[in-house]
Protein backbone atom coordinates (compact mmCIF):
# COMPACT_ATOMS: atom_id res chain seq x y z
CA UNK A 1 0.00 0.00 0.00
CA UNK A 2 2.67 2.47 1.02
CA UNK A 3 4.90 1.66 -1.92
CA UNK A 4 2.11 2.15 -4.46
CA UNK A 5 1.32 5.52 -2.84
CA UNK A 6 4.98 6.44 -3.24
CA UNK A 7 5.05 5.32 -6.87
CA UNK A 8 2.00 7.41 -7.67
CA UNK A 9 3.47 10.43 -5.96
CA UNK A 10 6.67 9.87 -7.93
CA UNK A 11 4.77 9.78 -11.23
CA UNK A 12 2.87 12.95 -10.39
CA UNK A 13 6.14 14.62 -9.39
CA UNK A 14 7.62 13.55 -12.70
CA UNK A 15 4.83 15.14 -14.72
CA UNK A 16 5.32 18.39 -12.80
CA UNK A 17 9.06 18.30 -13.34
CA UNK A 18 8.57 17.78 -17.09
CA UNK A 19 7.58 21.46 -17.25
CA UNK A 20 11.09 22.35 -16.09
CA UNK A 21 12.53 20.04 -18.75
CA UNK A 22 10.47 21.90 -21.36
CA UNK A 23 12.04 25.20 -20.34
CA UNK A 24 15.50 23.67 -20.25
CA UNK A 25 14.81 22.10 -23.65
CA UNK A 26 13.73 25.40 -25.19
CA UNK A 27 16.78 27.25 -23.90
CA UNK A 28 19.15 24.43 -24.83
CA UNK A 29 17.79 24.08 -28.38
CA UNK A 30 17.85 27.82 -29.02
CA UNK A 31 21.30 28.29 -27.50
CA UNK A 32 23.06 25.29 -29.05
CA UNK A 33 21.93 26.09 -32.59
CA UNK A 34 22.49 29.81 -32.32
CA UNK A 35 25.93 29.43 -30.75
CA UNK A 36 27.08 27.58 -33.84
CA UNK A 37 25.44 30.35 -35.89
CA UNK A 38 27.29 33.05 -33.97
CA UNK A 39 30.60 31.22 -34.56
CA UNK A 40 30.19 32.13 -38.24
CA UNK A 41 28.35 35.43 -37.93
CA UNK A 42 29.73 37.71 -35.22
CA UNK A 43 27.16 38.94 -32.72
CA UNK A 44 28.15 42.55 -33.48
CA UNK A 45 27.22 42.08 -37.17
CA UNK A 46 23.96 40.42 -36.12
CA UNK A 47 23.01 43.44 -34.01
CA UNK A 48 24.33 46.31 -36.13
CA UNK A 49 24.06 45.21 -39.77
CA UNK A 50 21.11 46.93 -41.45
CA UNK A 51 20.11 44.18 -43.86
CA UNK A 52 18.75 40.65 -43.43
CA UNK A 53 19.31 38.56 -46.57
CA UNK A 54 20.38 35.05 -45.47
CA UNK A 55 18.51 33.41 -48.34
CA UNK A 56 20.14 35.52 -51.08
CA UNK A 57 23.51 35.11 -52.76
CA UNK A 58 24.83 38.23 -51.04
CA UNK A 59 24.19 37.21 -47.46
CA UNK A 60 23.73 39.83 -44.73
CA UNK A 61 22.77 38.85 -41.20
CA UNK A 62 21.47 41.99 -39.48
CA UNK A 63 18.46 41.17 -37.29
CA UNK A 64 17.37 44.82 -37.05
CA UNK A 65 14.96 44.80 -40.03
CA UNK A 66 13.10 41.83 -38.51
CA UNK A 67 13.04 43.52 -35.10
CA UNK A 68 11.65 46.78 -36.49
CA UNK A 69 9.09 44.80 -38.50
CA UNK A 70 8.00 43.03 -35.31
CA UNK A 71 7.88 46.26 -33.32
CA UNK A 72 5.91 47.97 -36.08
CA UNK A 73 3.10 45.41 -36.19
CA UNK A 74 3.13 45.24 -32.38
CA UNK A 75 2.97 49.04 -32.13
CA UNK A 76 -0.05 49.23 -34.45
CA UNK A 77 -1.77 46.41 -32.55
CA UNK A 78 -1.29 48.09 -29.17
CA UNK A 79 -2.35 51.47 -30.58
CA UNK A 80 -5.65 49.79 -31.51
CA UNK A 81 -6.12 47.50 -28.51
CA UNK A 82 -5.05 49.75 -25.64
CA UNK A 83 -7.52 52.65 -26.05
CA UNK A 84 -10.39 50.32 -26.97
CA UNK A 85 -9.59 47.70 -24.34
CA UNK A 86 -9.12 50.23 -21.55
CA UNK A 87 -12.31 52.10 -22.50
CA UNK A 88 -14.23 48.81 -22.41
CA UNK A 89 -12.77 48.01 -18.99
CA UNK A 90 -13.75 51.44 -17.61
CA UNK A 91 -17.16 51.36 -19.25
CA UNK A 92 -18.05 47.90 -17.95
CA UNK A 93 -16.93 48.83 -14.43
CA UNK A 94 -18.23 52.36 -14.01
CA UNK A 95 -21.17 52.66 -16.40
CA UNK A 96 -22.64 49.34 -17.51
CA UNK A 97 -25.18 47.35 -15.52
CA UNK A 98 -23.94 44.14 -13.91
CA UNK A 99 -26.20 42.19 -16.27
CA UNK A 100 -24.66 43.78 -19.35
CA UNK A 101 -21.17 43.06 -18.03
CA UNK A 102 -22.17 39.43 -17.64
CA UNK A 103 -23.31 39.20 -21.25
CA UNK A 104 -20.58 41.28 -22.89
CA UNK A 105 -17.52 39.73 -21.26
CA UNK A 106 -17.94 36.21 -22.68
CA UNK A 107 -18.85 37.71 -26.07
CA UNK A 108 -15.57 39.61 -26.13
CA UNK A 109 -13.73 36.43 -25.20
CA UNK A 110 -14.90 34.95 -28.50
CA UNK A 111 -12.45 37.34 -30.20
CA UNK A 112 -9.59 35.56 -28.45
CA UNK A 113 -10.73 32.04 -29.39
CA UNK A 114 -10.66 32.51 -33.16
CA UNK A 115 -7.59 30.84 -34.74
CA UNK A 116 -4.99 33.38 -35.83
CA UNK A 117 -4.77 31.99 -39.35
CA UNK A 118 -8.42 33.07 -39.71
CA UNK A 119 -7.52 36.61 -38.61
CA UNK A 120 -4.75 36.59 -41.20
CA UNK A 121 -7.23 35.74 -43.95
CA UNK A 122 -9.44 38.58 -42.73
CA UNK A 123 -6.55 41.08 -42.73
CA UNK A 124 -5.49 40.15 -46.24
CA UNK A 125 -8.87 39.84 -47.97
CA UNK A 126 -11.05 42.38 -46.14
CA UNK A 127 -9.04 44.94 -44.16
CA UNK A 128 -6.27 45.62 -46.70
CA UNK A 129 -8.65 46.18 -49.68
CA UNK A 130 -10.81 48.41 -47.45
CA UNK A 131 -7.83 50.50 -46.28
CA UNK A 132 -6.55 50.78 -49.84
CA UNK A 133 -9.67 52.76 -50.70
CA UNK A 134 -8.70 55.31 -48.03
CA UNK A 135 -4.91 55.16 -48.47
CA UNK A 136 -4.24 54.44 -52.15
CA UNK A 137 -0.49 54.06 -51.58
CA UNK A 138 -1.01 51.11 -49.23
CA UNK A 139 0.77 47.98 -50.47
CA UNK A 140 -1.01 44.61 -50.74
CA UNK A 141 1.10 43.34 -47.85
CA UNK A 142 1.65 45.84 -45.02
CA UNK A 143 2.15 46.19 -41.29
CA UNK A 144 -0.91 48.41 -40.88
CA UNK A 145 -3.74 45.98 -41.58
CA UNK A 146 -1.92 43.05 -39.94
CA UNK A 147 -1.41 45.24 -36.86
CA UNK A 148 -5.01 46.48 -36.77
CA UNK A 149 -6.40 42.96 -36.98
CA UNK A 150 -3.94 41.75 -34.34
CA UNK A 151 -5.11 44.67 -32.19
CA UNK A 152 -8.72 43.50 -32.48
CA UNK A 153 -7.62 40.02 -31.46
CA UNK A 154 -5.92 41.25 -28.26
CA UNK A 155 -8.72 43.62 -27.17
CA UNK A 156 -10.18 40.99 -24.79
CA UNK A 157 -6.75 40.42 -23.26
CA UNK A 158 -6.40 44.09 -22.27
CA UNK A 159 -10.08 44.64 -21.45
CA UNK A 160 -10.52 41.63 -19.21
CA UNK A 161 -7.23 41.95 -17.30
CA UNK A 162 -7.71 45.73 -16.86
CA UNK A 163 -11.29 45.16 -15.83
CA UNK A 164 -10.16 42.74 -13.13
CA UNK A 165 -7.62 45.32 -11.94
CA UNK A 166 -10.18 48.15 -11.80
CA UNK A 167 -12.83 46.07 -10.08
CA UNK A 168 -10.36 45.05 -7.36
CA UNK A 169 -9.92 48.70 -6.33
CA UNK A 170 -11.76 49.10 -2.99
CA UNK A 171 -15.30 50.49 -3.19
CA UNK A 172 -14.44 53.13 -0.61
CA UNK A 173 -12.22 54.96 -3.08
CA UNK A 174 -15.00 55.19 -5.64
CA UNK A 175 -17.52 56.29 -3.05
CA UNK A 176 -15.18 58.94 -1.74
CA UNK A 177 -14.85 60.33 -5.27
CA UNK A 178 -18.62 60.39 -5.72
CA UNK A 179 -18.94 62.00 -2.30
CA UNK A 180 -16.74 64.84 -3.52
CA UNK A 181 -19.22 65.39 -6.36
CA UNK A 182 -17.21 63.76 -9.16
CA UNK A 183 -18.92 62.48 -12.28
CA UNK A 184 -18.46 58.85 -13.29
CA UNK A 185 -15.85 59.93 -15.83
CA UNK A 186 -13.87 61.91 -13.26
CA UNK A 187 -14.10 59.02 -10.81
CA UNK A 188 -12.92 56.57 -13.45
CA UNK A 189 -9.92 58.46 -14.75
CA UNK A 190 -9.11 60.49 -11.65
CA UNK A 191 -9.33 57.69 -9.10
CA UNK A 192 -10.01 54.18 -10.37
CA UNK A 193 -7.60 53.97 -13.32
CA UNK A 194 -4.64 55.48 -11.40
CA UNK A 195 -5.39 53.14 -8.48
CA UNK A 196 -5.46 50.14 -10.83
CA UNK A 197 -2.51 51.31 -12.91
CA UNK A 198 -0.18 48.43 -12.02
CA UNK A 199 -2.76 45.87 -13.15
CA UNK A 200 -3.41 47.82 -16.33
CA UNK A 201 0.31 48.04 -17.07
CA UNK A 202 0.59 44.27 -16.58
CA UNK A 203 -2.24 43.70 -19.06
CA UNK A 204 -0.53 45.90 -21.64
CA UNK A 205 2.86 44.18 -21.19
CA UNK A 206 1.26 40.76 -21.61
CA UNK A 207 -0.54 42.03 -24.71
CA UNK A 208 2.75 43.31 -26.16
CA UNK A 209 4.38 39.96 -25.46
CA UNK A 210 1.52 38.20 -27.22
CA UNK A 211 1.72 40.52 -30.22
CA UNK A 212 5.49 40.12 -30.54
CA UNK A 213 5.14 36.33 -30.75
CA UNK A 214 2.07 36.31 -33.01
CA UNK A 215 2.80 34.50 -36.23
CA UNK A 216 0.06 33.64 -38.69
CA UNK A 217 -1.57 37.07 -39.03
CA UNK A 218 1.72 38.72 -39.95
CA UNK A 219 2.88 35.77 -42.06
CA UNK A 220 -0.25 36.11 -44.20
CA UNK A 221 -0.82 39.86 -44.30
CA UNK A 222 2.38 41.78 -43.49
CA UNK A 223 4.67 40.44 -46.22
CA UNK A 224 8.03 38.70 -46.40
CA UNK A 225 10.40 41.57 -47.11
CA UNK A 226 12.80 42.39 -44.27
CA UNK A 227 13.06 46.15 -44.33
CA UNK A 228 14.46 48.63 -41.84
CA UNK A 229 11.52 51.01 -41.74
CA UNK A 230 8.83 52.37 -39.48
CA UNK A 231 6.45 52.98 -42.40
CA UNK A 232 3.37 50.82 -41.81
CA UNK A 233 2.23 51.08 -45.43
CA UNK A 234 4.89 48.89 -47.06
CA UNK A 235 5.60 45.15 -46.87
CA UNK A 236 7.88 44.18 -43.99
CA UNK A 237 8.86 40.93 -42.31
CA UNK A 238 8.62 40.00 -38.63
CA UNK A 239 10.86 37.57 -36.74
CA UNK A 240 8.06 35.01 -36.62
CA UNK A 241 7.28 35.31 -40.33
CA UNK A 242 10.93 34.70 -41.18
CA UNK A 243 10.90 31.45 -39.19
CA UNK A 244 7.75 30.33 -41.03
CA UNK A 245 9.19 31.36 -44.39
CA UNK A 246 12.32 29.25 -43.88
CA UNK A 247 10.30 26.31 -42.51
CA UNK A 248 8.09 26.30 -45.62
CA UNK A 249 11.07 26.28 -47.99
CA UNK A 250 13.59 23.51 -48.40
CA UNK A 251 16.65 24.85 -46.65
CA UNK A 252 19.03 21.95 -45.91
CA UNK A 253 19.27 21.05 -42.22
CA UNK A 254 22.50 22.02 -40.51
CA UNK A 255 23.26 24.76 -43.04
CA UNK A 256 23.87 28.33 -41.94
CA UNK A 257 20.51 29.41 -43.40
CA UNK A 258 18.83 26.74 -41.28
CA UNK A 259 20.57 28.00 -38.15
CA UNK A 260 19.30 31.53 -38.77
CA UNK A 261 15.82 30.49 -37.61
CA UNK A 262 17.25 29.59 -34.21
CA UNK A 263 19.12 32.88 -34.02
CA UNK A 264 15.85 34.64 -34.91
CA UNK A 265 14.05 32.39 -32.40
CA UNK A 266 16.36 33.25 -29.52
CA UNK A 267 15.90 36.95 -30.26
CA UNK A 268 12.14 36.48 -30.05
CA UNK A 269 12.47 34.41 -26.90
CA UNK A 270 14.59 37.06 -25.17
CA UNK A 271 11.95 39.71 -25.94
CA UNK A 272 8.97 37.72 -24.69
CA UNK A 273 10.86 36.31 -21.69
CA UNK A 274 11.86 39.82 -20.57
CA UNK A 275 8.31 41.16 -21.05
CA UNK A 276 6.68 38.26 -19.19
CA UNK A 277 9.04 38.51 -16.23
CA UNK A 278 8.64 42.27 -16.11
CA UNK A 279 4.89 41.72 -15.80
CA UNK A 280 5.34 39.14 -13.00
CA UNK A 281 7.63 41.54 -11.17
CA UNK A 282 5.18 44.44 -11.40
CA UNK A 283 2.32 42.20 -10.34
CA UNK A 284 4.21 40.92 -7.31
CA UNK A 285 5.52 44.29 -6.27
CA UNK A 286 2.26 46.25 -6.43
CA UNK A 287 -0.45 43.64 -6.07
CA UNK A 288 -1.10 43.83 -2.32
CA UNK A 289 -1.31 47.57 -2.07
CA UNK A 290 -4.86 47.55 -0.71
CA UNK A 291 -4.90 44.43 1.43
Amino acid sequence: MRTSEKIIEGLLWLSAVITILVTVGIIWVLLSESISFFRVVPLSDFLTEKEWTPLFADKKFGIMPLVTGTLLTTGVAIAVALPIGLTIAVYLNEYAHARMKQIVKPMLEVLATIPTVVYGFFALTVVTPFLQKIIPSLAGFNALSAGIVMGIMIIPMISSLSEDAISSVPRSLREAAYGMGSTRLQTAFGVMVPAASSGIVVSVILAISRAVGETMIVAIAAGQQPRLTLNPLVPIETITTYIVQVSMGDVPRGSLEYKTIFAAGITLFVFTFALNNLSFWIKKKYQEKYD
Partner: protein, 285 residues
Protein backbone atom coordinates in the same frame (compact mmCIF):
# COMPACT_ATOMS: atom_id res chain seq x y z
CA UNK B 1 -22.94 76.58 -19.42
CA UNK B 2 -21.51 75.99 -15.97
CA UNK B 3 -18.55 73.82 -15.18
CA UNK B 4 -20.71 71.07 -13.84
CA UNK B 5 -22.79 71.02 -17.03
CA UNK B 6 -19.63 70.57 -19.06
CA UNK B 7 -18.51 67.74 -16.80
CA UNK B 8 -21.87 66.05 -17.13
CA UNK B 9 -21.65 66.39 -20.91
CA UNK B 10 -18.18 64.84 -20.95
CA UNK B 11 -19.52 62.03 -18.81
CA UNK B 12 -22.33 61.32 -21.29
CA UNK B 13 -19.93 61.55 -24.22
CA UNK B 14 -17.67 58.95 -22.65
CA UNK B 15 -20.64 56.67 -22.06
CA UNK B 16 -21.43 56.75 -25.78
CA UNK B 17 -17.77 56.17 -26.61
CA UNK B 18 -17.74 53.25 -24.16
CA UNK B 19 -20.68 51.60 -25.88
CA UNK B 20 -19.00 52.20 -29.23
CA UNK B 21 -15.74 50.55 -28.09
CA UNK B 22 -17.51 47.63 -26.48
CA UNK B 23 -19.29 46.78 -29.67
CA UNK B 24 -16.73 47.75 -32.31
CA UNK B 25 -14.82 44.50 -31.84
CA UNK B 26 -18.02 42.47 -32.01
CA UNK B 27 -19.23 44.37 -35.07
CA UNK B 28 -15.93 43.73 -36.85
CA UNK B 29 -16.22 40.07 -35.86
CA UNK B 30 -19.75 39.93 -37.25
CA UNK B 31 -18.74 41.60 -40.54
CA UNK B 32 -15.93 39.15 -40.81
CA UNK B 33 -18.03 36.05 -40.13
CA UNK B 34 -20.67 37.20 -42.61
CA UNK B 35 -17.98 37.85 -45.22
CA UNK B 36 -16.44 34.39 -44.69
CA UNK B 37 -19.78 32.61 -44.80
CA UNK B 38 -20.87 34.53 -47.89
CA UNK B 39 -17.66 33.65 -49.67
CA UNK B 40 -17.22 30.08 -48.53
CA UNK B 41 -20.60 28.50 -47.86
CA UNK B 42 -21.39 27.73 -51.52
CA UNK B 43 -18.12 25.83 -51.78
CA UNK B 44 -18.95 23.50 -48.91
CA UNK B 45 -20.42 20.23 -50.12
CA UNK B 46 -19.80 16.54 -49.70
CA UNK B 47 -17.07 16.51 -52.36
CA UNK B 48 -15.18 19.34 -50.67
CA UNK B 49 -15.15 17.44 -47.38
CA UNK B 50 -14.14 14.12 -48.93
CA UNK B 51 -11.71 15.09 -51.70
CA UNK B 52 -7.94 15.01 -51.64
CA UNK B 53 -6.01 18.24 -52.21
CA UNK B 54 -5.49 19.21 -55.80
CA UNK B 55 -3.64 21.80 -57.84
CA UNK B 56 -6.96 22.76 -59.38
CA UNK B 57 -9.01 24.79 -56.92
CA UNK B 58 -12.37 23.47 -58.05
CA UNK B 59 -11.36 19.86 -57.40
CA UNK B 60 -9.43 20.38 -54.19
CA UNK B 61 -10.90 19.14 -50.92
CA UNK B 62 -10.03 19.13 -47.24
CA UNK B 63 -10.18 15.41 -46.47
CA UNK B 64 -6.51 15.10 -45.53
CA UNK B 65 -6.63 18.38 -43.59
CA UNK B 66 -9.53 17.54 -41.32
CA UNK B 67 -8.36 13.94 -40.93
CA UNK B 68 -4.99 15.34 -39.80
CA UNK B 69 -6.68 17.76 -37.43
CA UNK B 70 -8.70 14.90 -35.91
CA UNK B 71 -5.59 12.74 -35.48
CA UNK B 72 -3.74 15.64 -33.85
CA UNK B 73 -6.67 16.27 -31.49
CA UNK B 74 -6.82 12.66 -30.33
CA UNK B 75 -3.05 12.22 -29.93
CA UNK B 76 -2.62 15.57 -28.18
CA UNK B 77 -5.39 14.68 -25.73
CA UNK B 78 -3.78 11.30 -24.98
CA UNK B 79 -0.41 12.93 -24.27
CA UNK B 80 -1.39 16.22 -22.62
CA UNK B 81 -4.27 14.96 -20.46
CA UNK B 82 -2.33 12.66 -18.08
CA UNK B 83 0.72 14.94 -17.97
CA UNK B 84 -1.17 18.16 -17.34
CA UNK B 85 -3.63 16.74 -14.83
CA UNK B 86 -0.86 14.85 -13.04
CA UNK B 87 1.28 17.96 -12.75
CA UNK B 88 -1.70 20.02 -11.59
CA UNK B 89 -2.58 17.50 -8.88
CA UNK B 90 1.02 17.28 -7.73
CA UNK B 91 1.37 21.04 -7.41
CA UNK B 92 -1.93 21.46 -5.55
CA UNK B 93 -2.00 18.35 -3.34
CA UNK B 94 1.61 17.29 -2.81
CA UNK B 95 3.73 20.33 -3.57
CA UNK B 96 4.79 21.82 -0.29
CA UNK B 97 5.43 25.50 -0.06
CA UNK B 98 9.12 25.14 -0.78
CA UNK B 99 11.52 26.58 -3.29
CA UNK B 100 10.87 23.86 -5.87
CA UNK B 101 7.12 24.51 -5.79
CA UNK B 102 7.76 28.23 -6.09
CA UNK B 103 10.12 27.71 -9.00
CA UNK B 104 7.68 25.35 -10.74
CA UNK B 105 4.98 27.97 -10.47
CA UNK B 106 7.07 30.76 -12.00
CA UNK B 107 8.29 28.37 -14.65
CA UNK B 108 4.77 27.36 -15.71
CA UNK B 109 3.68 30.99 -15.89
CA UNK B 110 6.68 31.66 -18.09
CA UNK B 111 5.94 28.70 -20.37
CA UNK B 112 2.41 30.00 -20.87
CA UNK B 113 3.94 33.17 -22.31
CA UNK B 114 6.36 31.52 -24.73
CA UNK B 115 5.23 32.14 -28.34
CA UNK B 116 3.87 29.05 -30.07
CA UNK B 117 6.45 29.26 -32.83
CA UNK B 118 9.22 28.72 -30.25
CA UNK B 119 7.55 25.44 -29.28
CA UNK B 120 7.82 24.62 -32.98
CA UNK B 121 11.60 25.11 -32.86
CA UNK B 122 11.75 22.90 -29.76
CA UNK B 123 9.68 20.19 -31.44
CA UNK B 124 11.73 20.40 -34.65
CA UNK B 125 14.97 19.75 -32.79
CA UNK B 126 13.89 17.36 -29.99
CA UNK B 127 11.05 15.34 -31.54
CA UNK B 128 11.88 15.80 -35.21
CA UNK B 129 15.64 15.33 -35.14
CA UNK B 130 16.77 13.77 -31.84
CA UNK B 131 13.85 11.32 -31.61
CA UNK B 132 13.77 10.94 -35.41
CA UNK B 133 10.04 11.48 -35.68
CA UNK B 134 10.45 13.99 -38.53
CA UNK B 135 7.31 15.84 -39.55
CA UNK B 136 5.01 13.08 -38.29
CA UNK B 137 1.69 13.29 -36.48
CA UNK B 138 3.37 12.10 -33.29
CA UNK B 139 5.98 14.89 -33.44
CA UNK B 140 3.18 17.42 -34.04
CA UNK B 141 1.03 16.10 -31.20
CA UNK B 142 3.97 16.06 -28.78
CA UNK B 143 4.80 19.67 -29.70
CA UNK B 144 1.21 20.85 -29.25
CA UNK B 145 0.95 18.92 -25.97
CA UNK B 146 3.84 20.89 -24.52
CA UNK B 147 2.23 24.08 -25.84
CA UNK B 148 -1.08 23.49 -24.04
CA UNK B 149 0.41 21.90 -20.91
CA UNK B 150 0.49 25.19 -18.93
CA UNK B 151 -3.22 25.82 -19.68
CA UNK B 152 -4.21 22.35 -18.48
CA UNK B 153 -2.04 22.57 -15.35
CA UNK B 154 -3.45 25.95 -14.34
CA UNK B 155 -7.11 24.94 -14.84
CA UNK B 156 -6.55 21.59 -13.07
CA UNK B 157 -5.08 23.40 -10.09
CA UNK B 158 -8.02 25.78 -9.93
CA UNK B 159 -10.54 22.94 -10.14
CA UNK B 160 -8.76 20.91 -7.47
CA UNK B 161 -8.37 23.95 -5.24
CA UNK B 162 -12.14 24.55 -5.37
CA UNK B 163 -12.82 21.22 -3.63
CA UNK B 164 -13.30 22.10 0.03
CA UNK B 165 -11.02 20.88 2.79
CA UNK B 166 -13.92 19.13 4.57
CA UNK B 167 -14.28 16.57 1.76
CA UNK B 168 -10.66 15.53 2.16
CA UNK B 169 -10.89 15.50 5.96
CA UNK B 170 -13.97 13.30 5.78
CA UNK B 171 -12.16 10.85 3.55
CA UNK B 172 -9.08 10.74 5.79
CA UNK B 173 -11.30 10.22 8.83
CA UNK B 174 -12.67 7.07 7.18
CA UNK B 175 -9.12 5.79 6.89
CA UNK B 176 -8.46 6.52 3.22
CA UNK B 177 -4.90 7.16 2.12
CA UNK B 178 -3.84 10.34 0.37
CA UNK B 179 -4.11 8.90 -3.13
CA UNK B 180 -7.43 7.16 -2.33
CA UNK B 181 -8.76 10.52 -1.20
CA UNK B 182 -7.59 12.20 -4.39
CA UNK B 183 -8.80 9.43 -6.68
CA UNK B 184 -12.20 8.79 -5.07
CA UNK B 185 -13.09 12.24 -3.73
CA UNK B 186 -11.08 15.14 -5.12
CA UNK B 187 -10.89 14.09 -8.76
CA UNK B 188 -14.58 13.20 -9.24
CA UNK B 189 -15.55 16.47 -7.54
CA UNK B 190 -13.25 18.56 -9.72
CA UNK B 191 -13.61 16.62 -12.95
CA UNK B 192 -16.00 19.06 -14.59
CA UNK B 193 -13.57 21.92 -14.12
CA UNK B 194 -10.64 19.86 -15.35
CA UNK B 195 -12.57 18.77 -18.44
CA UNK B 196 -13.51 22.37 -19.24
CA UNK B 197 -9.84 23.36 -19.10
CA UNK B 198 -8.78 20.51 -21.34
CA UNK B 199 -11.40 21.28 -23.96
CA UNK B 200 -10.41 24.96 -23.99
CA UNK B 201 -6.77 23.93 -24.36
CA UNK B 202 -7.68 21.65 -27.26
CA UNK B 203 -9.59 24.42 -29.00
CA UNK B 204 -6.36 26.40 -28.81
CA UNK B 205 -4.39 23.48 -30.26
CA UNK B 206 -6.85 22.99 -33.14
CA UNK B 207 -6.20 26.50 -34.44
CA UNK B 208 -2.40 26.38 -34.27
CA UNK B 209 -0.51 26.42 -37.53
CA UNK B 210 2.86 28.02 -36.78
CA UNK B 211 4.49 25.34 -34.57
CA UNK B 212 3.36 22.57 -36.92
CA UNK B 213 4.76 24.38 -39.96
CA UNK B 214 8.08 24.71 -38.15
CA UNK B 215 8.32 21.01 -37.25
CA UNK B 216 7.76 20.28 -40.93
CA UNK B 217 4.08 19.47 -41.39
CA UNK B 218 3.40 19.68 -45.09
CA UNK B 219 1.00 21.85 -46.99
CA UNK B 220 0.36 19.17 -49.59
CA UNK B 221 -0.37 15.66 -48.35
CA UNK B 222 -2.05 13.42 -50.95
CA UNK B 223 -3.21 10.74 -48.47
CA UNK B 224 -5.00 10.49 -45.14
CA UNK B 225 -2.68 9.47 -42.32
CA UNK B 226 -3.15 5.92 -41.06
CA UNK B 227 -0.61 5.81 -38.22
CA UNK B 228 0.92 8.33 -35.79
CA UNK B 229 4.19 8.15 -37.72
CA UNK B 230 2.66 9.36 -41.00
CA UNK B 231 3.20 12.81 -42.40
CA UNK B 232 0.22 15.11 -42.17
CA UNK B 233 -1.39 18.46 -42.71
CA UNK B 234 -4.05 20.21 -40.61
CA UNK B 235 -6.86 22.64 -41.44
CA UNK B 236 -5.00 25.83 -40.37
CA UNK B 237 -2.02 24.93 -42.58
CA UNK B 238 -4.33 24.15 -45.50
CA UNK B 239 -6.02 27.52 -44.99
CA UNK B 240 -2.65 29.28 -44.84
CA UNK B 241 -1.55 27.55 -48.01
CA UNK B 242 -4.70 28.48 -49.95
CA UNK B 243 -4.66 32.05 -48.63
CA UNK B 244 -1.08 32.48 -49.87
CA UNK B 245 -2.03 31.73 -53.48
CA UNK B 246 -2.89 34.52 -55.89
CA UNK B 247 -5.88 32.86 -57.60
CA UNK B 248 -9.32 33.94 -56.42
CA UNK B 249 -10.72 30.36 -56.42
CA UNK B 250 -8.24 29.28 -53.78
CA UNK B 251 -9.41 32.12 -51.52
CA UNK B 252 -12.93 30.72 -51.81
CA UNK B 253 -11.55 27.32 -50.80
CA UNK B 254 -9.78 28.96 -47.86
CA UNK B 255 -13.03 30.62 -46.75
CA UNK B 256 -14.84 27.29 -46.93
CA UNK B 257 -12.10 25.58 -44.91
CA UNK B 258 -12.27 28.42 -42.37
CA UNK B 259 -15.97 27.74 -41.89
CA UNK B 260 -15.16 24.11 -41.05
CA UNK B 261 -12.35 25.16 -38.67
CA UNK B 262 -14.57 27.73 -36.94
CA UNK B 263 -17.34 25.16 -36.51
CA UNK B 264 -14.85 22.86 -34.76
CA UNK B 265 -13.46 25.70 -32.59
CA UNK B 266 -16.87 27.07 -31.59
CA UNK B 267 -18.15 23.56 -30.90
CA UNK B 268 -15.26 22.87 -28.52
CA UNK B 269 -15.69 26.23 -26.80
CA UNK B 270 -19.45 25.74 -26.60
CA UNK B 271 -19.01 22.37 -24.90
CA UNK B 272 -16.55 23.92 -22.45
CA UNK B 273 -18.88 26.80 -21.56
CA UNK B 274 -21.81 24.38 -21.21
CA UNK B 275 -19.84 22.13 -18.87
CA UNK B 276 -18.70 25.10 -16.81
CA UNK B 277 -22.22 26.46 -16.37
CA UNK B 278 -23.56 23.02 -15.51
CA UNK B 279 -20.79 22.56 -12.98
CA UNK B 280 -21.46 25.93 -11.36
CA UNK B 281 -25.16 25.19 -11.03
CA UNK B 282 -24.76 21.66 -9.70
CA UNK B 283 -22.23 22.09 -6.96
CA UNK B 284 -22.95 24.04 -3.81
CA UNK B 285 -20.62 22.98 -1.07
Amino acid sequence: MTNSDINRLKDKAFQVFGIFCTFIGLVVLAIFLIDIVAEGITRINWDFLTSLPSRRASRAGILTAWAGTLWILVLTTLIAFPLGVGAGIYLEEYGRKNRLANFLEINIANLAGVPSIIYGLLGLEIFGRQMRLGGSLLAGALTLSLLILPIIIVTTREAVKAVPRSIRDGSYALGASKWQTIWHQVLPASFGGILTGIILALSRAVGEAAPLIVIGALAYVPFTPSSPLDEFTVLPIQIFNWTSRPQEEFLTNAAAAIIVLLVITFLLNGIAVYLRNKQQKKIRW
